[in-house]
Amino acid sequence: MGTIYIDQSKETGLISQQIASLHMRYAYQRALETQQVDDIGQDYLACRYSEDELAFCICDGVSLSYFGNLASKLLGDALTNFLWELGEQAYDEAKALQEQLKQYLQQLTDSATAQLRNHVVPQHISGMLREVLEAKKAHGSESTFVCGKVQFSDSGMTKLALAWAGDTRVRMWSNELEKTSRLGGQFLTQERWSTVHGVIGEGPHVYTSTAHGAINKLHIYTDGLIALDDWTTAPTDGELTAMLEHSLTKPTSDDITFLELEVR
């Protein structure tokens, strides 16, 4: 049994980890301007795993909302635990999982709203910025997410469940043949979860598969790593590290979270 909870206040360089037959790579990098002022990143990654199962959640806090890092951490931890504790039900029919997630994400707004109520706009902030932050607080903190759970053995991913709202990338392969289009393509920027409203948009969108070994590799990454969209195969460690570094040279540098799960 193990857990991974990314520290949003610093970089996590590319890490490779073997969990039985599952090979995992992940990385976390704040946007350049966030690093420059040593602020907290708004992406988040959480995982829980055992010898044959792993649950995860990647969140991308919405910077236009109130402290997007709050929603991303809160949601990432909550969804990882929810899927983990759901047991075999996580791999039910997509509709059933979608319903359970909808209910849970709505319930979660109560505790989230209470947490947000206790969050105080720093005293030194005044004037127009305070006005704007107070207005944002009333609208809540928001985050997009991709969460999932995978059962694995030596022969591949035996069961898989994925759920998402927003434009965080999810890609999957079966023996080097990309199967991402099976997910249906509803990765919409305007969909997200709000501490006040719950899910905004039609999500969560859900995909489940119990086709033994059908999928053997997953990539999940936030839009800061948009350069990876053009890749049809997995980059090596060196290539990925170079892409992370290169992203910092762009004016549009954004937080990046990357997760790869592969049964080899």
């Binding site: 289009s181 305007q190 598969s209």
Partner: protein, 571 residues
């Protein structure tokens, strides 16, 4: 043949048959595992003659291009040899159906738009590590989808190009669109697809006639000489005389499109030249020169570049991409210059307030909106830089130059605007022009700047229109400088706007009721799609092509105008 209701691969239920042909039938199916999503499934029966297709099927499944339906699944052959390709279902019509429904007449400009997309997809197929020759390009195999984009369907006889293979397998392409080498069972290569593209374009431009290898008929086409020349270069009998690459043909079409749009350009250090350079490196150093109706060789360091990119006068560079999609970031902020008329008439009533108070309120709301869009956590990461100028008989620079939104928020900026006397708009535009001249050279990576002008009547002093036009010709790579006008007046339109949210905006053909409004219309840019999208997301129904011109008939419309000025895409 499959029956309706039959289940493929324990997952896809057959709904109906879409088409059938020599290489197999295509069915519409419903996905039991993915919310009953509809897909198209191609049923292929693999026998001894067609087993060579299996490798190609797996290769086709890896294709990824916006003008090719995505292949999402492949079900391997069963004992009887039935295998299936599951792909995106394209809702639309074939180009042939579309063309026939329009009595075989579609405008040449539309043909060029489709041709550009076809060149793009051929360019993609031909430049793969193992180039794919499509070999069956014809109106039957081109779909027009709901967004008026083309999709190339049915890769039934596509194959990878093997240089050593001197003769081709079977001349399967439809006669009228097949290249001479295909019909003669000779080796086909990527240039065979270019011939089929030419034959397809000939069919569309001739009202539905087939080309038939008769060179002289091209001169009878009802289109420009430049377009005829491109079609002619595609239909050359000898592959070595033919246009050589899809990239070169695409560039020729792009050039044609620009010429047709009347865009002038003099600079060559731009994306187009970059593409030309790439084309010359990667392909066969051949580019079709649409303007001079000939194929030219690029070989030696592009010495003919001025011939390819004609110089006309001294107009500033106005080359694509001008898409207004660059996002404002802290290091590449948007620049907005406000020009606010504070003439005497601004003291007139608008609802329960004076016009000038409504403007002041709308300006502050827009500034707060910019702070809102720039705030990350508890800090302002400035996405905007502003200059705020008021003008009467003199221009007053309220911020003392260009300031970041963070500086403005920290300063507690809260102007009190008071009406004065005259309305010297020309002087204000001139001041804005000078500010832009000082700023624009450092804005190559920034969104295109915007000048937002608010007035409530005719100008005094010089005519501001020529200066506004000069400003609109200034540009950064993201696009030309945008000019927006908010005209506070009760008499601008001949009808009221009962619901601002549902209002479609002012277009080129709308009737305006006074000359000031007509002048301001000429001084207004078309709203970029990126801005319009943001306004649409905020609930305003502005239509594509609407001008950045607001009739300030009430406080809500004035506020909408100021909101529009801040609708720059932000990171």
């Amino acid at each position: 043949m499959l029956n309706v209701g039959e289940i493929i691969g324990e997952r896809y239920v057959v709904q109906s048959r879409i088409a059938s042909g020599g290489m197999g039938a295509v069915y519409k199916v419903q996905d039991l595992r993915l919310n009953n999503k509809n897909w198209a499934v191609k049923h292929i029966i693999v026998d001894e003659q067609t087993t060579t297709h299996l490798d190609e099927l797996s290769m086709l499944a890896k294709l990824s291009h916006p003008n090719i339906p995505n292949i999402s699944d492949y079900i391997a052959p069963d004992r009887e040899g039935n295998c299936f390709l599951v792909m995106e279902l394209v809702n639309g019509k074939t180009l042939k159906e579309y063309f026939e429904q329009r009595n075989k007449r579609i405008p040449a400009s539309k043909v060029v738009t489709y041709a550009l997309q076809l060149c793009g997809v051929l360019e993609y197929l031909h430049s793969l590590a193992k180039p794919i020759i499509y070999r069956d390009l014809k109106p039957d195999n081109i779909m027009i989808d709901e967004r008026d984009d083309i999709k190339l369907i049915d890769f039934g006889i596509a194959r990878t190009y093997k240089e050593e293979q001197m003769t081709d397998t079977v001349a399967l392409g439809t006669y009228a669109f097949a290249s001479p080498e295909q019909l003669e069972n000779k080796q086909t290569d990527t240039r065979s697809d270019l011939y089929s593209l030419g034959a397809t374009l000939y069919y569309l431009l001739s009202g539905g006639s087939y080309y038939g290898h008769r060179r002289n008929v091209i001169t009878t086409l009802d289109c420009s000489e430049e377009l005829k020349s491109i079609v002619s270069s595609l239909l050359e009998y000898d592959v070595n005389d033919r246009a050589q690459t899809a990239t070169a043909v695409k560039l020729a079409f792009l050039q044609l499109q620009f010429n047709d749009n009347g865009i002038q350009y003099i600079e060559v250090e731009d994306e187009l030249l970059h593409q030309v350079n790439n084309a010359s490196n990667v392909f066969d150093n051949t580019l079709f020169d649409a303007k001079n109706h000939k194929t030219i060789r690029l070989g030696n360091a592009l010495e003919d570049k001025t011939e390819m990119l004609p110089v006309q006068g001294t107009a500033p560079m106005a080359l694509p991409p001008q898409n207004y999609k660059v996002q404002a970031t802290q290091s590449t902020p948007a620049l907005i210059i406000y020009l606010l008329d504070v003439s005497g008439s601004m003291s007139k009533e608008m609802g329960t307030s004076r016009r000038i108070d409504v403007v002041q309120q709308a300006l502050m709301t827009a500034i707060k909106q910019m702070v809102f869009r720039s705030t990350k956590g508890s800090r302002i990461s400035s996405r905007y830089r502003l200059a705020i100028l008021t003008y009467s008989d003199q221009v007053q620079d309220l911020l003392g130059g260009v300031k970041s939104i963070e500086e403005i928020a920290r300063s507690g900026f809260s102007p009190v605007l008071e009406p004065q006397t005259f309305s010297d708009a020309a002087e204000a535009f001139q001041y804005a022009e000078q500010l832009l001249q000082a700023e624009i050279s450092n804005m190559a990576q920034c969104p295109a700047p915007l000048v937002c002008h608010m007035t409530d009547g005719a100008h005094t002093g010089d005519d501001p229109e020529p200066i506004a036009k000069r400003i609109m010709e200034m540009s950064v790579p993201d696009g030309n400088v945008l000019v927006e006008n908010i005209f506070i007046s009760d008499t601008i339109l001949d009808k009221a706007i009962p619901n601002v949210k549902l209002w479609s905006g002012i277009g080129d053909n709308d009737v305006l009721r006074n000359e000031v409004a007509e002048k301001l219309r000429r001084m207004s840019s078309v709203i970029p799609e990126s801005y319009r999208k943001i306004m649409n997301e905020a609930g305003y129904g502005l239509q594509k092509g609407a001008l950045m011109m607001l009739p300030g008939m009430n406080a809500e419309l004035v506020s909408l105008g100021f909101q529009m000025s801040a609708a720059t895409p932000v990171r």
